[in-house]
């Protein structure tokens, strides 16, 4: 029983971690709290739903389509809504992000209706018996995918030229431009990577809960952002740790029969961490330039 709860926590935490990685990467590079990130996940889940239910495609193709759809949407949002505002005050771009989030939610609601849609099972993994506890295969797959995605992402950021460019732009955009880094394409690439992670999270979320609705991204996105801030925004291991903390606290609050309070607990945790350590658990302190 305990093991099942731990796995549930890991599963939920993994999904939060994947979403939080997307937040943290975009924030790290252009200091934008991308409010639309949660809605990109919603979009990905709808793409999977359309591919599986409306078009009856092979699940593997549906998964690829969902991830591809998220990448295209993420880059498009950056090009259309955020790129014109690179030099604008932070407040303007933040409000634009809220506008994009609003647009996606209400646009999907207008086109496909406000009711939740059922996503059929993408892959049936059955259950595994370990030490007398029943563990769901989906949960194990979720955890495995998250570990692989995090490792690949870390290698990408630390070992490749593009990763080096991303780190350079995040450090100092102006200096990176002078060193010959193509800042705009680096930012687009960051959005693409973050959105691809969102697409993976969308698939894992649909597998776990088997339903999609236009507003599913709001709470998921907000809590993943909480996870990113908890771990220290801009830090990849921080996002994973934050995601796991949020996932575990939700599952254990629910296990104590207090599930109605779980949202409040997550936000309370965030507030406590921010009050004690304003940069999050693994965040670097930022000195303000005058």
């Amino acid at each position: 029983m305990f093991l099942t709860q731990v796995l549930n926590g890991l599963q939920l935490g993994s999904i939060y971690a994947l979403v939080a990685l997307g937040y943290t990467m975009v924030y790290g590079i252009i200091l934008l709290l991308n409010f639309a990130h949660g809605d990109i996940i919603m979009f990905g889940s709808y793409v999977a739903w359309i591919a599986l239910v409306q078009l009856g495609l092979n699940p593997a193709i549906a998964v690829l389509l969902a991830i591809f759809g998220c990448v295209v949407l993420g880059v498009l949002i950056d090009k259309v809504a955020y790129a014109p505002l690179r030099e604008a005050p932070r407040l303007s771009i933040l409000i634009t992000a809220i506008g994009v989030s609003y647009l996606l939610e209400n646009g999907v609601q207008l086109l496909l209706g406000a009711d939740a849609k059922v996503v059929p099972s993408i892959i049936d993994l059955g259950t595994v018996q370990v030490f007398g506890s029943t563990l769901s295969g989906t949960a194990l797959l979720t955890v495995a995918v998250t570990i692989v995605a995090t490792v690949v992402l870390t290698l990408l950021v630390q070992k490749t030229r593009l990763g080096k460019a991303m780190r350079a732009v995040s450090e100092d955009m102006g200096a990176a431009r002078l060193m010959g880094v193509n800042v705009n394409s680096t930012i687009s690439f960051t959005f693409a990577v973050g959105s691809a992670l969102a697409g993976i999270a969308a698939i894992l979320y649909s597998m776990a809960y088997q339903q999609v609705s236009p507003t599913m991204g709001v709470m998921l996105g907000t809590k993943a952002f909480v996870a990113a801030v908890l771990g220290g925004i801009g830090s990849i291991p921080g996002a994973v740790i934050g995601g796991l903390i949020v996932g575990f606290s939700e599952v254990f609050v629910a296990a104590f029969g207090l599930s109605v309070w779980q949202d409040a607990v997550v936000f309370l945790l965030l507030i406590l961490v921010l009050v004690v350590k304003p940069t999050g658990l693994l965040g670097r302190p930022v000195t303000e330039k005058v």
């Binding site: 932070r90 409000i95 634009t96 506008g99 209400n106 109605v260 309070w261 965030l270």
Partner: protein
Amino acid sequence: MTKMYPRDNNHNPVIVTGFGGKDGQRRELTMPARYAINAILVALFVFGGNFLVGEGLISRYQTVVFEQIGVYVLMTVSLNIVTGYLGQLPLGHAGFMSIGGYACAIFIIRMMPLFGLDAQSMASGSTPAVILFVVGLLFGGICAALMGVVIGIPALRLRGDYLAIITLGFAEIIRVVLVNIDSALGFKLTGGASGLTGIPAYTGYLNTAIVVSLAIFAIHTLMKSRHGRAILAIRDNEIAAEASGVNTTYYKTLAFVFSAFLAGIAGGLYAGCIGVMAPAKFGFMKSVEILVMVVLGGMGSMFGSVVSATVLTVLPEALRAFADYRMVAYAIVLILVMIFRPEGLFGSYDFSLSRIIERIMNKDFPWNKDDSDEQTDVPVNAKADAQANEQADTQVDVQAEASTDSKEA
């Protein structure tokens, strides 16, 4: 391009106050005259409107729409204090509204028997009803303001996006608490998820108009005072403001708490207008809706806030047929405004009747442009400056030629 007026030894225009003023002197209204004109107009609006409601010339439905406009105007101008004047972005304004609304409604419902009132007589406008209304509204506002202190002190230590996310978090906590507090307390207080019902209809045209006018006057006087200038200084550059001796923590908290207080008052009016309080109405979406009103009107423009809150409350009522498209249109307008006019439709422009009257008094119209001052404003040593510039230009030219020469060589 202003008109040329006689100037004193320091080149400041000689100003003549009062309605008088000889030709060629700028005429200005005295402060008492300005206040008198505005007070008369506000009184005309408040009591004239109330007379029309009493006579039945404004229907019940229109009155309710007016009350909602009042609530949203109050919410928008109060958020504008923090977003427009202080330059911070809180995303939990609906949380304060719900606190104020619940506190005010519960207070009035519990206190009615003590005052010998029932739901009918609460709306009658009798003296005890008015006293209870005022006390209840203040109670709601103070509860919201206390919550503002609790939230503001940790939140305002953080900058920008952290402030946004922490206020969002607090608003969510408030919502969850409102839903679940009954089961935790063991008696009925907020009515849980289904909401608080049986709120007497204590909000009417007259008290909405008076409360909103008072609130706008209070914000106006605050912003024209020393404290208001300190708040604006923090917006423009927090570090510079601090270096100039502005106690930034104090003024940030002051603006935040004042904004929360007014939002609580707005919540109290809202409860009396709608009659039912449900926590789901005060989610993140409500906060965003208010933010849209502030941004659209122009951050830092009270006039813009009032106009956009009015338009965005009336439009959905007028365009019920297109209700499905409303939110999509909101979103697109918000993005377009941010991209093409980031300062909002009115920017930081504020309407001033006195300024317009003064312009008329001075016949200072755009089509009456007097260009003569541009010539007279040219300083005496301008000629010398021009010569110096020419010299500098020729020097640059020489250098440029020299560099091209060296390249060719």
